[in-house]
Chain length 334, copies 2
């Protein structure tokens, strides 16, 4: 039988209200009383019930984070930023992996509701109507990361995907490339798919280069799919001098496949990624890429969420700045 607050009060010879005040640091008791209560709590191994405590101070000081693939390097770097900010503000983080096709998203939203988290960071997945309805019911603040929605009261933090892709392709053109293939992420993805293809297309057109659908290939953001796409490029469009991949993982897959086919990067073909994961620095040659400041995005989103939890006001969405990181996989052929 777990001891109750009443047991603590009796043993410490104070009132239940006093124990409660000590537990919640509300003052109105002497140091001596506090020491006595703290000692008794320890002796009895009294564990204040988290839910009951939540009912008093209205919070569990816990934030839930939903990732479609917590194991990806992408989620990892966001999580570093989230963890850093959240712990410095005296909250804890529970992370749930919704799986890539979102098949566990509803289940985990329910779980976070049951665990009474104070707020939710919802990352890298399209916010479907059914998720929105449940989140509305839950009445907890939500901030989207690397996602975006038209539903009200759902601020987001992300980069400008169209502009980032535009700038990447613009960079390759200024290096003299005109036959540039793209490896897009999942077809139809409204966040990380379509806007990046649009950026690719518009950047080409701005330089008077017609968009050629033969140069557009699809993967699923993952390493293996980048390799498969590169194989298709080498077969179907060998005249291409540069490849822009919509994720670092796909770019690195393309790099491996090019190397296996006896090509040197960037001498024979240039490759550019998107994200600037730690991986990008670790491969050989190091990958030129578009940087998303994932650590900062994680911190900023956490800050907005905690503000919403504590103030009750809806935060503003924020577009973070991207940048081009020049390493060694794009050759100047001007």
């Amino acid at each position: 039988m777990n001891p109750t607050i009443k047991d603590v009060a009796q043993k410490a010879n104070v009132s239940i209200a006093t124990v409660s005040r000590v537990l919640h640091n509300l003052g109105g008791y002497s140091d001596k009383t506090k020491q006595k209560v703290d000692r008794t709590i320890k002796e009895l191994k009294y564990q204040p019930n988290a839910i009951a405590r939540g009912l008093i101070n209205k919070r569990t000081q816990t934030i839930g984070v939903l990732f479609p693939d917590v194991s990806s390097a992408f989620s990892s770097e966001l999580l570093h930023g989230i963890d850093e900010f959240v712990h410095n503000h005296n909250y804890s983080v529970v992370v749930c992996n919704t799986d890539q096709d979102g098949k566990r998203t509803l289940k985990y939203l329910q779980l976070l509701r049951e665990k009474q988290v104070d707020g939710i960071l919802f990352s890298s997945e399209v916010l479907k109507k059914e998720y929105y309805d449940l989140l509305e019911d839950m009445r907890v603040p939500v901030v989207l990361i690397s996602s975006q929605t038209d539903f009200p009261n759902m601020p987001y933090v992300k980069i400008d995907d169209f502009q980032a892709a535009y700038d990447a392709v613009d960079y390759m053109v200024t290096k003299g490339h005109r036959r540039i293939a793209m490896i897009s992420g999942t077809k139809g993805d409204p966040i990380a798919g379509t806007p990046r293809i649009e950026g690719y297309r518009k950047a080409l057109e701005a330089h008077g280069i017609a968009f050629n659908s033969r140069y557009l290939f699809y993967g699923d953001f993952m390493y293996e799919s980048g390799g498969r796409a590169m194989k298709s490029i080498l077969q179907k469009a060998p005249e291409v001098t540069a490849v822009f991949a919509a994720s670092d993982e796909m770019a690195i897959g393309a790099l491996s496949t090019a190397t296996q086919h006896g090509l040197n990067v960037p001498e024979d073909i240039s490759i550019m990624g998107y994200d600037d994961l730690r991986l990008a620095r670790m491969v050989n040659p190091p990958l030129t890429t578009v940087r998303q400041p994932l650590h900062d995005i994680g911190m900023i989103a956490s800050g907005k969420l905690i503000d919403m939890i504590e103030s009750g006001e809806i935060a503003q969405s924020q577009i973070c700045a991207h940048s081009i990181v020049e390493r060694q996989t794009v050759r100047n052929i001007t």
Copy 2:
């Protein structure tokens, strides 16, 4: 005000006991009654309290996972296995990041206690006395992953670190290498540090090669530290023909640094890693390494934990088989 089970019973015109039986699929009611109750639950948006439900069926169907660095590729691959197994067995997973020096471990154990998880997977960290005491108090089953302890009732799942390091170095010797440096992980780490150094030493001695402390370098398992160690090796022990790193990340750091110094791998120097992360396949040239079956380890540990939760019996510890994965970074010089 959230609706209660009483509200549901009144509106559906049945007893509270009936609503409870429907909620827990206990039978003893007609299909028609079940439909009526289900409909009423939906209409009222009744949310059975997780904790109250836990008190009835004794479980929250939630497992807590503690990682010292959830963002590492190592944790990611374990988590894939854990997630797969746990979801197939109708549990959910909440993941907590204890940080590398374990500074949040106690905080998160407390949190998991408050969230009333049914069991805990404790990964890659030494189980200190203070953690053990708290876990004992919590009275939930615990399985250690890639860790090990002498405390009772704490089964573990891991590979044989001594033997895996021994086999790696033995492999390099059979390829003709005799001047083999080692980049160890954190000095004094009783799990992933000392046993791997012992394996290195004994494998050398078994081939009549004296252990030379000048060839032993230290990192912290991470990429950057492997690069730093490689720099020291090139300066202080340039006669070395092969390097065994105690993690893939360090091996890849060593690979990058060797390449930056104009060396070709494996022509000029051989490098072997430890773990077989996805990364190992992604770098160029692909890394020869010792494989830990991390996905399987995650699944096996989850299976043992769920067995313990459901049977109340302590599971047996298990040593999983490692293997040598030959790729392209170790040259035969015989």
